[in-house]
Symmetry: D2
Amino acid sequence: MTTDFHEHEFTIRLHDTDAAGLLFFGHLFRHAHDAFEAFMDMIGFPVDLMIRDGRMLLPLTHAEADYRRPLRHGDSVRVRVSVLEIRRRSFAIGYRFIDHLGEVAATARTVHVEVSADIAPVMDLSESLRLALSAYLADDAHTS
Amino acid sequence: MTTDFHEHEFTIRLHDTDAAGLLFFGHLFRHAHDAFEAFMDMIGFPVDLMIRDGRMLLPLTHAEADYRRPLRHGDSVRVRVSVLEIRRRSFAIGYRFIDHLGEVAATARTVHVEVSADIAPVMDLSESLRLALSAYLADDAHTS
Amino acid sequence: MTTDFHEHEFTIRLHDTDAAGLLFFGHLFRHAHDAFEAFMDMIGFPVDLMIRDGRMLLPLTHAEADYRRPLRHGDSVRVRVSVLEIRRRSFAIGYRFIDHLGEVAATARTVHVEVSADIAPVMDLSESLRLALSAYLADDAHTS
Amino acid sequence: MTTDFHEHEFTIRLHDTDAAGLLFFGHLFRHAHDAFEAFMDMIGFPVDLMIRDGRMLLPLTHAEADYRRPLRHGDSVRVRVSVLEIRRRSFAIGYRFIDHLGEVAATARTVHVEVSADIAPVMDLSESLRLALSAYLADDAHTS
């Protein structure tokens, strides 16, 4: 599939760094979620409207990141978003953080479950959401 | 008045600092609001319940801070909270950040206006809130 | 002067909001500083290089903001940066946050002092910095 | 072993929450690192001094969290820190976030590698650090 990722860019700003001079690890998740929101906007499921309407919420049940290369103040970073897995009532999003040398500086993964307005898990992912996510499923991923 | 301040303590942690090795200025406001919430808990107006109930909200209309001495990673800081001013429909809270040497490292001020659940400004501060705040009014402050 | 501002754009993302559903006031300063860094990049004084080199630092001595209109999750915001004042050893930067309706949702101001690598205040702003800032001085501002 | 954890407490404050009314997932890592720093203070390896001295740094190579129960604005949370694993040149720290009902609301894990001042990985963890960590190794953990 040709369109297996969405790309989001940002610069490491002063508040992203800490006294050790590099990105504070926890802030990577803030940038991952920015990329997630931009991705969801693109596929027609804007997170802000979903929360405001309260019909469908996608809370995280898991988040993780691997840090491979230091990210410094001023570095430009591109985030490549892809859908790693689609399960019955949850899905996993992958993030690759590419530094200005084209190297993967970090990767991250978030798992989201669909819940209804009363925070009860749904039986199955909404069909429209499943369809929208499927178009960005990574080639080596699998649905269930 | 003997009880003109409430004290809140915290330590400058890694995520508070930036690549220059000191507290990132914007994070001072996060700590100020932590102290504000602890103060509001103490005087019987917990911010979390107020937001959940939606009866009364106290959004900020102004915030400011002066930075006098550097705050470094690992520093212990005490925040002294006082009520600087009570006006017809708003009030100002003052914060003094005292470092481990007993010096004032920074000061801050936030102005809050009372609004009803539909975000319309109220005519007058709730009488119970005015009373609760008054007990912590700084000696040199004045109401209107 | 025609070029009295630099414009920076961002979207209010989930982590910018709080349980009251609006931008958490303290995060406005993070966005202001992002705009400041983009501005400093543009005028040839990138903050990341200045910190790395340690020759010249521009710590804040003051920050303030006024909140006029609510900023909600998903809102697009443009930040207009201008130089408000140039003094002997310090300068003030102004920020106007324009919402998607073209209204000023918030304003902010930061005051920066130039210090040398050993954190001692300099006698005078570097001439090159003074010159670079001057080109963006707001029409109604004044130097000293 | 009786002392297999260190406990750290905090309250979910307004800036921890997002428009969905719950803890923003990324902020859990900020609290985890606060607990890590308090733990390292206790065992005699204060992170702030280590960064200032630059002799030994402990950057993260991995971080992950599982979210089990919602954490709301105003909730008191206790964090239990333990050492999950000690390897040749890295170690893993575990965090259990206990809510006011005594339930585990979230768990997290961070992996740290020891590097020298020039950011080169060391051959082996410092013996003094290995010893200090060992005293807090969870009963079901293992060294290598």
